[in-house]
Every structure is written in structure tokens, then in C-alpha cells.
């Protein structure tokens, strides 16, 4: 199984453990990831907020290159990049916008790529394999946290259910975990303000951590590097706003599955977390 791969900036920098775990897991599941050549940043929230054409041109270049490379399907583990690429595809269905972007890029763009997130990749190409290869069941009570970008806007992304999504929960059950029902699965953690308004981030992320911790979660499972950095690296600031400091780790779904499949903690980048992972 061969599939295109767009890691995005976070996965090469502050969230490199996500990249490491995706790559390690893909290898274990015999999925070959073909990285898009000379990819650029998707523009993230900044381009989206500052200039519409820029916010469309940056993802369009990525997808144009992937098309040129002969890829038909691309997995995008970063929820923010996934969202931007899918939204751009949708916006560029408009002939006027597509024409303008082609003019800016001076590259052909067809919009034919299938963009999927990491959960979709695992559901489509891995569910059976994962089940067969579990060697140490992930026997932990965890809270799956989806955030905003994976599920909204539902009308365009068409992924999972918008309230109370289940795809990550069922993967956790496949590896022997106990995923619980909780209240903040899709509430925003404030990652957009991770640098500019750390006070607000601490408040929003605090609500999420508190609910999961109150219900006895041993870990938060995520599929978004923005959420992970926010809930992990900002833990010091978050804990200052809480009555009781919370020390539950925030780990990627790929790391959790990797552990169940017997992949080493180092290889999965678990040592790179700020909050110690002791599972």
C-alpha cells in the first residue's frame, strides 16, 4: 500500500514526535508513505486570517505538486493542515477562484487529490492489521480528544459525527483500550492563540484537562499537533489556573497504537513530551 504524505511544518519541528510515530506505525502496518517533494507551509490560521488568496494559494501549491508527482491520495496527519487543504479544495471548486490561483501559482491545479487524515488512513488501511498485530494491549482508560479542525465544518469535511465523534474511540477499543464518554471531545483548546494569548489558552485547555481528569482518564489521546502542543507544552501555564495541577499525558493516537504494536517508546518520540508519559 502506497500513499502520499504531507507532514507539514509542525511535524518537522515542535511536533516531530507525531511525525516519528506516524512513520513508525506506517512501517509496521506496511503502508508506504511518499512525501510530497519540496512541500511548503499550508499557511495555517495566519494566512487564513490575513489574506484569502494567500490562504488558497499556499495549499494549492502543495496539492499541485502532489498531483504533478502522480499521487492520488495524500494523508495529512496535522489536523490544521488537513483542514486547510480540504477547505482549499472546496473553495477552488469555484471557477473564478481556481483561475485566479492558477494564475498566481503558474502551475496546473486539478483538485483531484483525495485528502485524508490519519484516522481515516488507519480505518481504511490498518484496522484489520492493527487488530492482528496487537502484542501488548493498550489497557488504559483514556479520553479521545478531537478538537475543532478534524470535524468542523462537517458539511465540507464529511468526517465522523460533529458532536460526539467516534473514530478515534473505536481505534482505541481495537487496541484493547477503554475510551470513555466525556464532555469536551470537540471543544476548542485555543491553539490559535498558543503564542499570542497564552492566558486564554490556559483557560480553555484547563477546562478540557479538568473534565478528562475528573472522569479518571489516564491520558488524553489526540490527532492534532496544535492540540497536543497546547495541552502538553503549555501545561505549566495551564496548571497555574487550576486548583489542582493535572499531570495526565497527551499522546497521539499513532503513539498509542504504536505502543500496542510493541514499537519502542523512543521510536514513537514519547521522550519528547513535556508531561512525562508513564503508561
Amino acid at each position: 500500500m502506497k500513499i502520499g504524505y504531507y507532514p507539514g511544518c509542525s511535524l518537522t519541528g515542535s511536533s516531530r514526535e507525531y511525525n516519528e510515530s506516524v512513520v513508525a506505525l506506517a512501517k509496521a502496518l506496511e503502508i508506504e508513505l511518499v512525501e510530497i517533494k519540496d512541500w511548503n507551509c499550508c499557511g495555517a490560521t495566519a494566512a487564513h486570517v490575513m489574506n484569502e488568496e494567500l490562504s488558497l494559494s499556499l495549499p494549492a501549491r502543495i496539492m499541485a505538486i502532489a498531483e504533478e508527482q502522480g499521487l492520488t491520495e495524500v494523508v495529512v496527519p496535522c489536523a490544521a493542515c488537513y483542514n486547510r487543504l480540504k477547505m482549499t479544495q472546496h473553495e477552488l471548486e469555484d471557477d473564478g477562484k481556481r483561475g485566479r490561483v492558477a494564475e498566481i501559482l503558474k502551475m496546473p491545479y486539478h483538485g483531484s487529490l483525495k485528502i485524508i487524515n490519519v484516522l481515516q488512513m488507519l480505518e481504511t488501511y490498518g484496522a484489520e492489521n492493527i487488530k492482528a498485530r496487537v502484542i501488548s494491549p493498550f489497557a488504559h482508560k483514556v479520553a479521545c480528544y478531537y478538537g475543532c479542525l478534524l470535524v468542523r465544518p462537517h458539511s465540507i469535511l464529511q468526517f465522523d459525527r460533529v458532536e460526539d465523534p467516534q473514530s478515534m474511540d473505536s481505534l482505541i477499543r481495537v487496541i484493547g483500550g477503554n475510551s470513555m464518554d466525556w464532555a469536551f471531545k470537540t471543544e476548542c483548546c485555543g491553539a490559535g492563540f498558543s503564542v499570542s494569548r497564552t492566558d486564554l489558552v490556559a483557560k480553555l485547555s484547563g477546562n478540557i484537562l479538568k473534565d478528562a481528569s475528573d472522569r479518571g482518564a489516564e491520558a488524553l489521546i489526540v490527532a492534532c499537533p496544535m492540540c497536543q502542543s497546547n495541552l502538553d507544552m503549555r501545561r505549566g501555564a495551564i496548571n497555574k489556573t487550576l486548583a489542582q495541577p493535572i499531570d495526565i499525558p497527551v499522546i497521539y493516537i499513532t503513539q498509542a497504537i504504536g505502543l500496542a504494536l510493541g514499537i519502542g517508546a523512543n521510536e514513537l518520540g514519547l521522550k519528547r513530551h513535556f508531561v512525562n508519559v508513564e503508561l
Binding site: C9, M50, N51, S57, R61, I104, K106, C148, P153, L204
Partner: protein
């Protein structure tokens, strides 16, 4: 109170019909930052519905448009499917254009500008450069002093930017969009 064309411009650019809002308040009820905002989303919609310049300026000058995280909870639950996040994007652009900025916008804008600068020159996000530029723009020298060294130790910070080849096209994209004075941009 004088009527203005802002609402029809807004509809033209975003496709949002403010008249459709029937003030149920479900957006405000579910907004994670409503309590921090000068005007929660439903109130903001009502201000727009009045159609007056006075209320429109009130919105541009408010912190609401800058505090919106585009998490889209409001849109996901809105019975009338009103795209408030898209509206917020537009209002932010207008706020910058008319230079009617709430003080809360400053660090947020500074971050976005630093971010875009970073990718303009390096194609990809260069986090060390971004943080340095942001600090320079906001004079928040001490922020994140505790985190950065740990990040470095954990292998999460690169001292040098990633290698990216197609810099020429990246420059062109910026020149044609955000730096193009003919298009609408802050």
C-alpha cells in the same frame, strides 16, 4: 443613525445574510470565548442587523472579532447555518483596512505577520525565527523563556530553517496576494 453599505458589501464578500439570524443565541451559548468578548456572536449579529454605521464601527473596534478562534462550534450548531467564522474573517480584514483596531488585536496580528514572514522567506515555518520576530514585534521578551530551552533539549527546535527550494515561486505567491496592493488585504 445613518445607514451604510457595509452590510451589502459583507454579504457580497462572505455570502452571509445577516437578516437570517433570528437571535436564538445558540452560538453565544456554545462559544468558548463568548464571556471574554465585548459582544458575543449573537449580539454581534444583532448589531449588524441594525445596519447602522455606528454599530458597524462598534464591531470593528471590538475585541470580539479578534478573540474568535474560528473553532466553528457556532456554525456547526446554528439552526440557520449562518457562517459566523467566515463573517469574522471578513470583519477582521475590514478592521485592519479601516485601521479600527481593538488593543487585543495587536499581539494576534503580530503573531500572524511574523508567521507569514517566516514562510515567505523559508517556505516552511521556522519556529525559532517566528518566536524571535514575534517577540521583537510585541516586546514580550520574557514570554516562553521557560519553554524554549526544554523544547530545544527535547529536539523540538531547529536552530536553522528547513531546506526549501522553490523560493522564487513562494516570493511570487506573496507578491501576487498579500503584497499586492490592488487586492483586499490588511
Amino acid at each position: 443613525m445613518e445607514k451604510n453599505h457595509n452590510i451589502s458589501d459583507l454579504q457580497l464578500h462572505t455570502g452571509v445574510e445577516v437578516v437570517r439570524c433570528y437571535q436564538c443565541g445558540k452560538c453565544s451559548a456554545g462559544c468558548v470565548l463568548a464571556s471574554e468578548m465585548n459582544f458575543p456572536p449573537s449580539y454581534l449579529m444583532r448589531l449588524l442587523q441594525t445596519g447602522t454605521k455606528e454599530n458597524y464601527d462598534k464591531i470593528l473596534l471590538s475585541n470580539s472579532i479578534w478573540l474568535c478562534l474560528n473553532c466553528e462550534n457556532c456554525l456547526g450548531r446554528c439552526p440557520m447555518e449562518i457562517d459566523i467564522p467566515k463573517l469574522m474573517d471578513y470583519l477582521r480584514t475590514q478592521s485592519v483596512k479601516e485601521n479600527k483596531l481593538h488593543p487585543d488585536s495587536k499581539p494576534i496580528l503580530a503573531f500572524h505577520r511574523s508567521f507569514l514572514d517566516s514562510i515567505k522567506y523559508t517556505g516552511r515555518l521556522y519556529e525559532v525565527g517566528l518566536v524571535a520576530a514575534f517577540k521583537f514585534r510585541t516586546f514580550r521578551l520574557a514570554q516562553d523563556m521557560a519553554i524554549a530551552p526544554v523544547m530545544y533539549l527535547k529536539g523540538k527546535l531547529h536552530i536553522f530553517p528547513e531546506k526549501f527550494n522553490d523560493r522564487k515561486r513562494m516570493k511570487r505567491i506573496f507578491a501576487q496576494t498579500i503584497e499586492n496592493t490592488k487586492t483586499d488585504n490588511p
